[in-house]
């Protein structure tokens, strides 16, 4: 494999030029003759609110116990009706901690018949905060795919990103999910893990990380899962504040820009997903939601939408998009 001088002596080589600002994302796209337009939309992502029991240092939405923006029942009904008239293949429920929305069971019950695949993003500890296992039983019944955050198999790294004691609580919940059949062969109950770096650096290769997680979790804890996904942290919200305070922002943004991979554009999630926020407004992705950059650049409520967004419509972009186009990308 040939490399140029910028690759030798590791990746920090270009990042040391702290005066250098990365090329704006739109210029990088233009230089490669690329543009980001919507494909056929098959996924509805529902952000049910920013309320969360954790205060993760990398959270682009700045979710936490003090955030009271939660999707109410009225908006939830609008979202379910929208799913009913749009025919999405996949529904992806996220937050905050979606488990902490008081209407989450209602949402799953109502929307499950409307999509082939339902995903629930969990930080594992909120799922454990429930007084009963009713939500887990409901997920089992509807074959809800659980997508669980676990940044690292090392306690120090997981706790530094997500809070003290999170690793132990996460392992306990993974064990419970395994006992319910999640992640176990032949049950049809899919348990996927998501790992994002606990600092100002990029992710390990997904395949290598998955092997390491699988080996370590099995060896140390006897735990199993289906797939691991690795994502770069997006320099927005609380993560951006941390990057600024720690003096890492310029170098991190430069690193993301240097890792731009034009091959990621085709598979970007924003091309096939529409995201609805807790208050019912629509976005092209959860990161544009954080920036309040509306779907196609137009503020529109879910109750006003006739169906899935049309193909070929434009997607608002910004320098934060480098995080989804770095290396293997963000799917």
């Amino acid at each position: 494999m040939a490399v140029d001088a910028h690759s030798a002596v590791g990746p920090a080589i270009d990042n040391s030029c702290l005066e250098c600002r990365p090329e704006p994302f739109f210029k990088t796209l233009a230089r490669h003759g690329l543009e980001i337009k919507r494909d056929r939309t098959d996924t509805l992502q529902i952000n049910v609110g920013f309320y969360c029991n954790q205060v993760c240092r990398h959270c682009h939405l700045e979710a936490g116990p003090g955030r009271l923006e939660i999707m109410d029942l009225h908006t939830m009904n609008d979202v379910v009706a929208y799913a009913g008239r749009s025919g999405f293949q996949t529904v992806d429920i996220t937050g905050g901690a979606p488990e902490m929305n008081p209407h989450i069971e209602y949402l799953i019950e109502d929307i499950a018949p409307l999509a082939g695949r339902i995903m629930l993003r969990s930080n594992l500890t909120a799922l454990g905060n429930k007084q009963t296992d009713d939500l887990i039983k409901l997920c089992c019944r509807h074959r809800v795919v659980i997508v669980a955050s676990l940044p690292s198999v090392k306690t120090s790294q997981t706790d530094s990103q997500r809070g003290k004691g999170v690793m132990d609580a996460s392992i306990a919940m993974l064990r419970k999910l395994n006992n319910f059949g999640y992640g176990q062969a032949g049950t049809g109950l899919e348990l996927n893990l998501v790992s994002s770096p606990s600092g100002a650096f990029l992710t390990a290769s997904q395949a290598q990380s998955e092997k390491r997680f699988r080996d370590d979790l099995e060896r140390k804890y006897g735990l199993v899962f289906n797939n691991l996904f690795t994502f770069a942290n997006v320099p927005l919200g609380r993560f951006r504040s941390w990057l600024q305070e720690s003096g890492n922002l310029d170098r991190y943004e430069q690193r993301l820009a240097e890792s731009f991979n034009p091959c990621t554009i085709q598979g970007l999630m924003c091309r096939t997903l529409v995201s609805v926020s807790w208050d019912g407004y629509l976005f092209d992705c959860d990161f544009n939601l954080a920036l309040r950059a509306y779907l196609g650049g137009l503020k529109k409520h879910v109750s006003e939408m006739e169906g899935a967004p049309e193909a070929e419509t434009r997607i608002p972009i910004g320098d934060h998009c480098y995080a989804c186009t770095a290396g293997a990308g963000f799917t």
Binding site: A5, A8, G10, F201, Q208, R212
Partner: protein
């Protein structure tokens, strides 16, 4: 204050090819091949590089390979152990030369 080591100089490493482009090209191709996945994983190679960087005390390499190791999923605990390996080999290399000292001293002494 000016110092011999400026982190910004690392970004200028490519300029080394201006003096001898063919040699630089060969070096960087070789470098890339060395660090590609092989019998050893990229992760293992990054840890070795980090340990060697400490042995030769190259601040550019320590900076670069700390970041690389983090990106390969290496923990601080693992990196610290790698640095101790480097330390042990360096320290052991000094100490083992004590056998020469002892041989010479023995020969010269009554």
């Amino acid at each position: 204050m000016e110092t011999y080591y400026d982190p910004a100089d690392l970004a200028r490493f490519a300029e080394i090819s201006e003096g001898a482009p063919e040699l630089a090209k060969k070096f960087f191709e070789y470098y890339g091949a060395v660090f590609a996945e092989g019998e050893l994983t990229e992760r293992e190679k990054a840890l070795i590089a980090l340990a060697v960087a400490h042995a030769i005390q190259c601040p550019y390499c320590i900076d670069a390979y700390t970041q690389t190791c983090l990106e390969k999923g290496v923990s601080i605990e693992e990196m610290t152990e790698a640095v101790h390996v480097s330390c042990a080999i360096r320290g052991g290399a000094s100490l083992v030369h004590g056998t020469q000292m002892r041989k010479i001293a023995k020969k010269l002494s009554m």
